[in-house]
């Protein structure tokens, strides 16, 4: 048994940690430390979120009146395009994996860093370069009005900055590939001794599945965007019908990436939720292997359903039928996850703190987002709902209600680890309530007006829809305030929060065995491996005021195990 001296050395808040062991901007700009890169990514994606979120609010207030507000039609088109493009390529795709994943993935397997630290830093700089290219489309004055999907032939004809934007998305694709490649290799080769695949936290399974998609889908987007650039500059005639090209081929290529990309966005979020639900119920996750394999199943099925974006684009009816059928099968692994989360909650000792509140709202919002997807996957209803606000509401329930909520929940969960300080839980919960209420107020009316035929991407609309749009605008404002508040609470905590110990939440995965904030090398000891959901393996230490592994605790104070160890 370890002495108190060793315990203090390992778990007590250290003088030097990854944040302050070196100083100066160069030590950040050229860092190879996955934790610092994760923090920089977090700052980056947050800026992208606020930028694209501001566009969203402008759009919403423009739509407050049915005849349209202060934007010209052209400006409106550019606004929704930039909102979508920046949100998708610069925010959602890198958000959970590159920010949270970068920080915790190596720690969860007891490693010092990811397998290729330089590539990791490169990924971040490519993210900056790509985002700057997207921003250049705005700043150059050309703008971008194709929608984030860059459909041909309009993207070839429009005078706006398509080349800037597509080149930006191309670069962001490489950033995403580098992160995915790094994670796959790291999880494969650098797990702690004795850590089998089934002792990985479920967050890692979901990141692994995500990385598979990033590796397999993103290159196809890359070549598609290059071909689009070639089409625009040289008119090679592959996508442009004027020169004998096939614009539907572009849609196929685009969605071959962009549908799996939807799972790049949601799978990591589901992984975060698996952690949160289990830790804050203090109960072993229900159906570990089902959740693990459902992540892989979603990743693989995700490659077979891209045609459901093109039901009205003139595919053959047979292909349409097959895509529709496969689309429904995605519901199975998704539902497996939701049922397992609910079963984990059952008879758990639930702690309703901020991360758990976010996790619970995720389950609700993702549930609605998933179920409304079935209406869109069904051929007959999709003909009616295609390109209406129903679609907009559906994917916002998944992307915002799902991914953004999970990102916030994950941030509140790992924030004490990242900065060693605790946030104000009450304010956190209020922010969660505002996000939840504001979000529903924004997008529930959109389901209603979508089902009544309100088309998306229109700068003005019939007066009968005005009341829905006004509710939606109010909701969006509340949502925006809620998100701002949550980041405010976190930011305040990072500087002025109360110091917290290594493991304030009694979590059992390895990252909680480092000090808070962690040492530069992550661990100064060999972390002791347990099943990541065996919470009884952690016991309270009075001197340190935190939870530590049973093996290292003072034997006189260690309570007996509550339940036999499963193996």
């Amino acid at each position: 048994m370890a002495s108190a001296e060793i315990r203090n050395k390992i778990f007590d808040t250290p003088e030097t940690n990854y944040l302050n062991h070196t100083r100066g901007w160069k030590s950040w700009a050229f860092t190879l430390d996955h934790k610092r890169i994760g923090v920089m990514y977090l700052i980056g994606v947050t800026i992208a979120l606020f930028l694209a979120g501001a566009f969203a609010l402008v759009l919403r207030w423009h739509l407050f009146w049915f005849e349209g507000g202060f934007l010209s039609n052209e400006m409106y088109n550019q606004m929704f395009t930039l909102h979508g493009a920046i949100m998708v390529f610069s925010f959602i795709i890198p958000s959970v994996p590159a920010a949270l994943g970068n920080f915790v993935l190596p720690m969860m397997i007891g490693a010092k860093d990811v397998a290729f630290p330089r590539m990791n830093l490169m990924s971040f700089y490519l993210w900056i370069a790509g985002t700057c290219c997207l921003a250049a489309a705005i700043l150059s004055g050309y703008g971008l009005d194709t929608g984030w999907t860059f459909y041909t032939p309009y993207s070839i004809e429009t005078s706006t900055g398509v080349i800037f934007a597509t080149f930006g998305a191309f670069i962001l694709g490489f950033s995403s590939i580098f992160t995915g490649l790094n994670f796959l290799v790291t999880v494969n080769t650098m797990r702690a001794p004795g850590q089998s695949w089934f002792k990985l936290p479920l967050f890692l399974w979901s990141l692994y599945a995500t990385s598979i998609i990033q590796i397999l889908a993103t290159p196809v987007l890359g070549i598609t965007l290059l071909m689009l650039i070639a089409e625009r500059t040289m008119h090679i005639g592959i996508f442009d019908p004027k020169y004998g090209g096939d614009p539907v081929l572009f849609q196929h290529f685009f969605w071959f990436y962009s549908h799996p990309a939807v799972y790049i966005m949601i799978l990591p979020a589901m992984g975060v939720i698996s952690e949160l639900i289990s830790v804050y119920s203090q109960k072993r996750i229900f159906g570990y292997s089902f959740i693990a394999f459902s992540s892989v199943a979603i990743a693989l099925l995700g490659f077979l359903v891209w045609g459901h974006h093109m039901f009205t684009s003139g595919q053959s009816p047979m292909v349409t039928l097959i895509f529709s059928a496969i689309t429904f099968t995605v519901a199975i692994p998704s539902a497996v996850k939701v049922f397992n989360w609910l079963a984990t909650l059952y008879k758990g000792s639930i702690l309703l703190n901020t991360p758990m509140c976010y996790a619970l709202s995720f389950i609700f919002l993702f549930g609605i987002g998933g179920l409304t997807g079935l209406f869109l996957g069904a051929l007959s209803t999709d003909i009616h709902l295609h390109d209406t606000y129903f679609v907009v509401a559906h994917f916002h329930f998944v992307m915002v209600g799902g991914t953004l909520t999970a990102l916030l929940g994950g941030l509140f969960h790992w924030w004490p680890k990242m900065f060693g300080r605790m946030y104000n839980d009450m304010l956190g919960r209020i922010s969660c309530f505002l996000v939840f209420a504001g979000f529903n107020l924004t997008f529930f009316p959109q389901f209603v007006m979508g089902s009544r035929g309100m088309p998306r991407r229109y700068a003005s609309y019939d007066p009968e829809f005005q009341i829905f749009h006004q509710w939606s605008t109010f909701g969006a404002s509340i949502l925006g305030f809620g998100i701002l508040m949550s980041f405010g609470v976190l930011l305040y905590a990072a500087f002025y929060g109360k110091r917290c110990g290594a493991n304030p939440f009694k979590a059992a995965s390895l990252e909680w065995q480092s000090s808070s904030p962690p040492d530069f090398h992550n661990f100064i000891h060999k972390p002791i491996l347990h099943d990541p959901y065996d919470f009884d393996s952690q016991v309270y230490d009075k001197d340190l005021d935190t939870y530590i592994p049973r093996e290292l605790a003072d034997p006189k104070t260690v309570p007996p195990r509550r339940e036999p160890v499963h193996h």
Binding site: M1, A2, I6, K9, I10, A111, K112, D113, V114, A115, F116, P117, I177, L181, N182, L184, V185, T186, N188, T189, M190, G194, I215, L216, A217, T218, P219, V220, G222, I223, T224, L226, M227, A230, M234, H235, I236, G237, I238, P241, K242, Y243, G244, G245, D246, L249, F253, H521, F523, I524, H525, K526, I528, L529, H530, S537, E551, L552, V565
Partner: protein, 357 residues
């Protein structure tokens, strides 16, 4: 639960790592395995990167089989075959280089890697001949396609070839100068490195010369085709006749070409009958799409060759400063795998583009 040795739980303060093992790896084996898995995954992304073009190729070939059958007559099989052999040989020398690195023989490894680089540059030289010859004839991507046949003198230097060769010439002069300069300041490895790069760029000009020789050999054949249109492939006839479309005497053959063009329409792709219709018959227009795909595929492949040369140069440099040893040769292996993939993609491109019949 495994028994935990709690007395020795702290990591030692200072790891005594070999200098070539990065700090976050436990040992050389873990580092090698990670790199190997990483490069394989990277190769997967490369294949998928090309896949978009292969799919585009497949679709247009399904929709316009006659175009593909005809269009390859514009491609010189012999130059294609020559390049195939050059790349296959470079893969062999690469494999020998990896073998030498595994034995820690840096000198041998450097030699083989240098030969590989020279072959890569030769490939580009031949490609430059192919490209410039086509551009001379007006064979561009779809929108610029304006075939105007003429026969050039043997060893005629196309203006396009001169443009393509500007950068190699500059590089050659620069590397030779740098090599002498480095020798003068007695930096032996650097001097050798720059010399090696100069030899590599020299490979490009060897490729150009060999390509020119081949072209000179085939020029007569091409000439004969133009002299007697009935011997020429259908597509050549259609395009040639269209060139003198003011001449009413060729109405018959012109109609022939149109019939063929209409056949492609029956396959049901949405073609616009825009202004381009006036310039050339449908067949000629769609041959342009074949060349769009040809330039995209071979161009992207050529970019990969250039990237390969850069990577090989890095390996070559590390040979010269004697970095490889039997327990550390990973990067040679990884670049070798990349090089084999670039070779492999060409193995697919060659029959798909040059050998259709």
């Amino acid at each position: 639960m495994a028994v935990v040795d709690t007395d020795n739980i702290l990591e030692e303060e200072h790891h005594h790592h070999e200098p070539f093992i990065a700090h976050h790896f436990d040992d050389a084996e873990q580092q090698f395995d990670s790199g190997k898995l990483g490069i394989w995954l990277f190769l997967v992304t490369e294949i998928l990167f090309f896949s978009g073009l292969f799919v585009a190729y497949t679709l247009y070939r399904i929709h316009h089989p006659e175009i593909f059958e005809q269009a390859h007559h514009f491609l010189d099989k012999r130059l294609g075959a020559l390049n195939t052999i050059v790349l296959l040989f470079s893969s062999l020398t690469m494999a020998l280089g990896v073998h030498a690195a595994q034995n820690g023989d840096n000198k041998k490894c450097g030699l083989y890697v240098l030969i590989t680089m020279v072959c890569a540059a030769m490939f580009l030289g031949v490609k430059a001949i192919e490209y410039s010859h086509k551009w001379d004839l007006g064979i561009f991507v779809r929108s610029e396609f304006s075939y105007h046949p003429h026969t050039a003198e043997p060893f005629h230097v196309s203006p396009y070839l001169i443009k393509l060769s500007v950068i190699p010439v500059l590089l050659l002069v620069g590397f030779i100068a740098a090599s002498f300069f480095a020798r003068a300041s007695s930096k032996v490895a650097l001097s050798k490195f720059m010399g090696g790069l100069a030899i590599t760029v020299g490979g490009y000009f060897v490729g150009v010369l060999i390509g020119m020789t081949f072209m000179a050999l085939t020029a007569e054949n091409e000439h004969a085709q133009l002299e007697s249109p009935s011997q020429a492939p259908l597509v050549l006839r259609a395009l040639t006749l269209d060139d003198d479309k003011h001449d009413d005497g060729h109405a018959d053959a012109d109609g022939d070409a149109h019939a063929d063009g209409d056949h492609s329409h029956a396959d049901g792709e949405d073609h616009a009958h825009g202004d381009s219709h006036a310039k050339s018959p449908d067949l000629g227009r769609d041959v342009g799409i074949f060349f769009s795909i040809y330039y995209c595929m071979t161009g992207l492949h050529a970019i990969h060759i250039i990237a390969g040369i850069v990577a090989l140069a890095w390996i070559y440099w590390r040979c010269l400063v004697v970095h490889w040893r039997p327990d550390y040769f990973g990067p040679v292996d990884y670049v070798g795998l990349y090089w084999h993939l670039v070779d492999l993609i060409w193995i697919y491109l060659f029959p798909l583009l040059y050998l259709i019949d």
